[in-house]
Symmetry: C2
Subunit: 129 residues, 2 copies
DNA sequence: GCTTGACTTCGAGTGCACTCGAAGGTGCAC
DNA sequence: GTGCACCTTCGAGTGCACTCGAAGTCAAGC
């Protein structure tokens, strides 16, 4: 855990702490093509996460946390990796996901309201439905 | 599909249509103790879903759709089945679930906002972060 | 009375996303 | 120079929630 020399990037343990993903999961994501590129290695072959890696991982986590399947994240990563020229495709992918998330959150909000009503009943402050 | 006689309850196909759950899933839920009681059967041994079954299934669906594990729904169903005297326990269970859902929806809302910002960038209307 | 189609039970199979274990390498602390 | 924590790869295992297939039953229609 030396923070000597001029910052060569985070170890997998540090990246794990920052992203909230387990080291196993970070390796799994890289292996499965979810990272933009292979993460840099130090002279000993160990992963060093650059700020760019971390910020991509943050976005990746947001996509996963909102229910985007790993396979679709992989597709999105491939588009970004391919570079300029496919922005329309990326946009379409993100818009479709956004719409799905919006819909689901709205539905879950309704379910939550029904559950809160149930809680209110059990609390004795039945609000006449 | 006879709607003759004075309504003996819905067939599994009708219950499936109403609840949005597959017939397979409805049977699975019953088998796994997620229903309050075994669903009534007609003289031929086929399931007949009563209004009470349907309304419980609706609640069950809300709990599942908001991420409550099957095992916890089973526990909740067991409490309701046991009858009066455990309202405090039911309330605690529902409150805990409600809190988890609220937290998750808030987080997902943040993720959604970040995704929307990304979409905005791709749409060319970059809003300065 | 025979076909048709939806139903029954049971147990096994599937898909997803991790999660873990084994076997071995590396480098700092003492 | 040896112990130790932490890393590496690889492939296999896990947990969850369905989902399906097989083999058989039943009621209605022709």
């Amino acid at each position: 855990m030396s923070t000597t020399t001029a910052e060569a990037g985070l170890t997998i343990a540090q990246a794990s702490a920052v992203t909230g993903l387990s080291a196993h999961t970070l390796r799994y994501y890289e292996r499965d093509g979810l990272m933009l590129d292979a993460v840099d290695r130090d002279p000993g072959g160990r992963r060093r996460y650059s700020p760019a890696d971390i910020s991509w991982t943050t976005m990746l986590t947001r996509l996963r946390a909102t229910g985007m399947p790993v396979s679709e994240v992989r597709r999105y990563a491939a588009l970004v990796r391919a570079g300029d020229g496919n922005e329309a495709e990326r946009l379409a992918l993100l818009r479709a996901h956004r719409d799905r998330v919006r819909t689901r959150l709205a539905e879950e909000g309704e379910h939550l309201a029904a559950i809160e009503a149930k809680v209110a009943i059990y609390e004795g402050r039945a609000t006449g439905c």
